[in-house]
Symmetry: C2
Subunit: 342 residues, 2 copies
């Protein structure tokens, strides 16, 4: 064990609890945006029930990832801070870590796939981070990340399998529960966009305390429904590989060890949605909700619009987890929609 790897303390391999989420919420005050819980009369009509949308696309850095990153980086002890942080990410965790490191005042190196959306690479750089690009097919981002952390005596900020990250992401559902209660609303279900399961794990920790009667359900892209299949099997299942999805934010190969340990007994079930359903959701978000969403941020909306989750006479909350979409992609989706409609 090298001296540097001391920063990867075992403390962050432990399962967090509700108090960790609550403390994260105090740390984030004044830094994270308390995003609105939106309701749309048109969506309610389409769904046949009440649908509340937690617009994390309006979060600092354009996704919920800032919550976990800021909380985790705030927990780095003073003596470890000069080495800075290293993270690997397709883009939203990258931006969250870069922005949080900038606020805390420590350097950040981010390992990103060469084919990540340009907007995510540019934005990450704009927060002052150093970017190292890698080949998603032939190289291992974990290896590159660990090597860099060792070389620079930096703290590796994992994307989801870390108690500090999970606790930070949990503040999103904490706000959902509080905002729903303020409106006198009882939530039957909470739909969460799921990649490695960090947002889901934080959400179940918050909901089991604040809204225990609300079932938590995951939504994943078709071909990347590892969490759904793992939940059904009761143990971790990998994605089969060889699949493609436009949901670049949700392409984790398998559930995290820590996140799945939390989710397996607390998540009630999972859905998967096709790219076509996601495109329809992006189009609906643009034209009807007037929100800019990225594909991975729209999977829960897609599950509702496609009717996969029956919302009839039910009250449902869902996460719109991010809005970092390349305009080229969104404009192509909107163009296809216009062509299909004409």
């Amino acid at each position: 064990m090298t001296a540097e790897s001391e920063w990867d303390t075992e403390e962050f391999d432990q399962i967090p609890n509700y108090d960790d989420v609550k403390q994260a919420s105090q740390r984030l005050r004044g830094w994270a945006v308390e995003t609105p819980l939106l309701e749309s009369p048109v969506l309610n009509e389409v769904a046949g029930g009440r649908v509340f949308m937690k617009a994390e696309s309006l979060q600092r850095t354009g996704s919920f990832k800032f919550r976990g990153a800021f909380n985790r980086i705030s927990l780095i002890p003073e003596r470890a801070r000069p080495g800075g942080v290293v993270a690997y990410s397709s883009g939203n965790h990258a931006q969250g870590v870069a922005a949080a490191a900038q606020i805390v005042g420590i350097p950040a190196v981010i390992v990103m796939p060469k084919d990540a959306p340009k907007v995510k690479i540019e934005r990450t750089r704009s927060y002052g981070a150093e970017i190292v690009l890698y080949d998603r097919v032939h190289e291992s981002r974990e290896e590159i990340g660990h090597d860099l952390a060792r070389q620079r005596a930096a703290t590796l900020v994992r994307p989801y399998d870390d108690s500090g990250i999970i606790a930070g992401q949990g503040t999103c559902a904490m706000e959902i529960a509080t905002q729903a209660r303020a409106r006198g609303v009882r939530l039957d279900s909470l739909l969460v966009c799921c990649g490695g399961g960090g947002l889901t794990a934080g959400s179940v920790l918050a909901m089991e305390r604040l809204s225990p009667d609300t079932e938590v359900l995951t939504v994943e892209p078709a071909g990347f429904d590892d969490t759904k299949r793992s939940l059904e099997a009761g143990q971790i299942r990998e994605n089969r590989g060889g699949e493609f999805s436009i949901c670049d934010a949700l392409l984790a190969p398998r559930p995290g060890q820590l996140t799945f340990a939390i989710n397996k007994d607390r998540v009630s079930g999972g859905f998967s949605v096709t790219d076509e359903e996601v495109r329809a959701a992006l189009d609906f978000a643009f034209h009807t909700l007037k929100l800019v969403l990225e594909p991975g941020g729209a999977v829960c909306l897609a599950a509702v619009l496609s009717g996969k989750l029956n919302c009839c006479h039910r009250t449902v909350a869902l996460t719109l987890s991010g809005g970092n979409v390349d305009p080229e992609l969104l404009c192509a989706v909107l163009g296809d929609g216009a062509l299909a409609a004409s």
Copy 2:
């Protein structure tokens, strides 16, 4: 005077007061969306102060116009309802009236310019309204509207010069004042997007009661700064004509009689912004705020981003008045040929 024109009662030519706004707010409860007052850390940094954005793009029908339309239509007496309503509008008032008439259960005919954004024409039709298109250059929408109202014994719902409309639009600033107070924020200025002046008039009525120390300022497109020049002259001034702007929602030829009577002593000043500044604001809204705005809905944001309104160490609220933009236009602004290519 025909029997039909009785519905255009003089009652709606009177200057409304704060109580009218308050009553409108009660009528709108459950029908209008209480839109969020958003804050963006990045915008605050750019502006050097605190900027709160009232996102009326997230309102039912995609603009604040639903507020005035629903309030006005609710005030139509039972005996006049079978004839329905007629309105002329470039698009946002059209959608507001069509949606409100659909809820109230009466027919609506909307007179719209042939060159209105397609999305506005389609959406208006989707609320069940009958559309009559006219030529903006050679025909008078007022004449067509009045003729139709007479023929059908319908109530003409004017876009801004009507006390019921003004009171309805005032509910937007009522919410701004209430939401700001809930956050413990004292607003130095409120920036309002200004066409005929209905939103401005409603806003000053609400603010002079709820937040009397807040100055109200208008923002208009360059070449269509009739309200700014009228305020400076102390009397109504027309636009010179022959100008063009992408802000289709804000092209009224002159301030309304009623709206200017309210605004002239209560509005502290006005700004105008160029199409180039509006394009930059649309781009910022897409990439940084993750909001879909239409050009006319982004003029206040443009005034802040361009530095025309100095926000340094100040606390400012602004209206993002609408989001009904054709994707073709927005994608062109985003500097992208993907839509045309698809």
